[in-house]
């Protein structure tokens, strides 16, 4: 449905997108993860048509996305900003924004009512939006993007600044939209959001996709190991000394403090060897925890730990 090839965009010397390529199928929900400045918003802006000076091609439903203005009727966007009019009611906002698309007036009214029900704003549909809570505004923001039943929905960090309930509700809506056949690109910083919502995850940085696939595929791609946390009555130095000669390709000491140490292991079969070594040195072990690799560890592995502006 969507085919992006070699998309490149620079701001002066800063390359925001660097030969970015991506394919997206109908009904697929892609979670686009990346640190600040990775190029996520630039990508969304290009797809939305608000940035025009770039190179590369974007094909949507077999046609050049930017050559045919009518294709905009098939595209929906939920921006990071609360992009609607606070003085108007939720219903009036839906009718105005929906009216900008080629949706017949009668269908538009019906669709507005459906969406007000979906985002649970029907009871307050006539109220000025300025009276709404942050979560309600986010839900309205999402509803506006869905009004014309787009084939491709772009969501740019739609969950910023809302409470857990509103976030869960919004993620449910995104899942539902994908299940109904709309292709979705969903950018976020929140790794947990994409784990349960997206059928595919892409991690990008410096304008390029570093890895993509399901969570399991990503873990395999980066070869992430399991984390073993050991608590007990030992000194940091004694622990480090005990496991020193076990370290290698299959085992790595990540951290050691008095009473708590952390190791990465290729598989859990390494744990008995570690215990033997600790007991032989007289080091007491009170608790062992095994943590499976998370998206966060994959993300940090790929994008590094340095802070971004």
């Amino acid at each position: 449905m969507l085919e992006i090839k070699n998309l490149t965009k620079s701001y002066g010397d800063v390359v925001a997108l660097d030969r970015f390529s991506l394919d997206l199928k109908k009904g697929e929900v892609l979670g686009l993860l990346g640190p600040n400045g990775a190029g996520k918003t630039t990508l969304i802006s290009i797809l939305a048509g608000t940035i025009s000076d770039f190179t590369g091609t974007v094909s949507f439903q077999g046609r050049d996305l930017f050559a045919d203005r009518r294709l905009k009727n098939r595209l929906g966007i939920v921006p990071q900003d609360m992009a609607f009019y606070e003085e108007l009611s939720a219903r009036d906002n839906l009718l105005f924004w929906g009216g900008l698309y080629d949706v017949p007036r009668a269908d538009l009214k019906k669709r507005a009512e459906e969406l007000l029900e979906l985002v649970e704003l029907a009871a307050r549909a006539k109220e000025p939006v300025k009276n709404f809570s942050g979560g309600m505004k986010r839900r309205l923001n999402a509803a506006i993007g869905l009004l014309h039943k787009p084939d491709l929905l772009l969501l740019d960090e739609p969950t910023v600044g809302i409470d857990v309930q509103a976030k869960v509700s919004l993620l449910d809506i995104i899942r539902g939209v994908g299940a109904a056949g709309t292709a979705v690109i969903f950018t976020t910083h929140q790794l947990a959001e994409v784990e349960g919502t997206c059928s595919r995850i892409a991690i990008m940085d410096h304008g390029r996709i570093l890895a993509q696939g399901t969570l399991e595929e990503l873990v395999r791609i980066v070869g992430e190991r399991e984390i073993v946390e050991i608590a007990g009555g030992f000194a940091a130095g004694a622990f480090s000394e005990a496991v020193q000669d076990l370290a290698g390709e299959r085992l790595e000491l990540l951290s050691a403090a008095d009473g708590l140490a952390s190791l990465a292991v290729r598989d859990t079969g390494e744990i008995p060897r570690i215990m033997d070594r600790l007991f032989s040195r007289g080091l007491a072990v009170a608790d062992i925890k095994i943590k499976s690799p998370s998206l966060e560890t994959v993300f940090l592995k790929l994008t590094g730990r340095s802070l971004r502006d």
Partner: protein
Amino acid sequence: MRRLFLVLGSDVRRHLKSPLAIVIFMAIPMVMTALIGIIFAPKAEQTTLPPIPVVLVDHDKSIASRLVLGAFDADQLKKMFEVTVADEAEGRRRMEKGRASAILIVPEKFTLDLLDGKTTTLTVVKNPAEQFLPDVVEEFVATMAVMLSGAIQAFEAEAKGIRVLLDSPVDLIPWETLGPEFGKAQKKVVAASKYLNPLLIGIKAEETRAPGAKPRFTRRDLFSIMLPGMAVMFLLFIVQTLMRDIISERGDGKLRRMMTTPLRPMELVGARLLGGWVMGLVVLLVMVAVGTLIFGAYWGNFGYFLLLGAAVSFWTAAFFGLFGALVRNRNQAGAFSAPIILAFSLFGGSMMNPEAMPKAFRAIGVATPNRWFIDGAALVRDGRFPLVPLLILLASGLVLAALAAPALRRRISV
């Protein structure tokens, strides 16, 4: 075009749902006009002063002092003065409390001195807290003194007779000898009464005008002259508030969202310029209606005035469209717009009569919409078609719109 009108309709609806800024900007010129009118306009309906409170202190208690008191009681003067007879201490107390504009003190033996032909003095104590009213009392007493002196001199012979009457016990008055004296006095009074009763020369207040001279300047005229200047100044404020949407929508993501829809940038630019124009004209007409209803302002031919209003609203929308394309953000717009509007208003004649402005001000004023609108409104008021102001506003407005449209389109597209 459907989308252009959809945006236009939404803009109008939004501003009507949240009209506080517009209402305030519309109310300010009305309040300012009302205040200026109340302070400076001539008050045609109020031509008389309230009665001036005077305390009469009568140490004489005789014929002449009764004459003085009676003079204040004459028909015309009754409306002018409110006389209370009291002692001097009470008079001063009243004066301190602001309940007396002056104290008139009639000295002892006032009547006797007059009849003897001696000089005597009436004292007027003026309230120092008042400026104008005590002077009226003083002037009146001075006039009365002149008249009384004249009367005493005219009736000198009779006065001597009366003096005798006053000094003698009633049983010793030689009534039989008074006949000729009264007869002489009666002849003088009858002769004078031909002229005095009734007065041969009446007083009638009437205003006359030389041919071609301007009619008397009324409060209504003042409002009619002031309101166009005020209205155009606040029209500028209102339209710049409306046109600020262009800037804020760029910052809050609405513009970006609009550009993801099939709405074309030029449709949005057109909607904004048209919106500013229509809203400006509506606001101007509301101000005109309010000015007419409240102040009775006179605008002249409504059709001509409507054309002029449409032209100045168009100019204003185009100007602030261009302004919106040039400034970086809402803060910058706020910082620059107020000084620009105030400068337009100062040099353009919204703040003072253009004829009273220095030449340099008037020269700068030709570059402002205020000046042309005010000039045009004056022509319409005089029953003439405001051709030159209309052409200048339309032509310069078109130039501004031609500059604004591509500049706005560029800002929207980035």
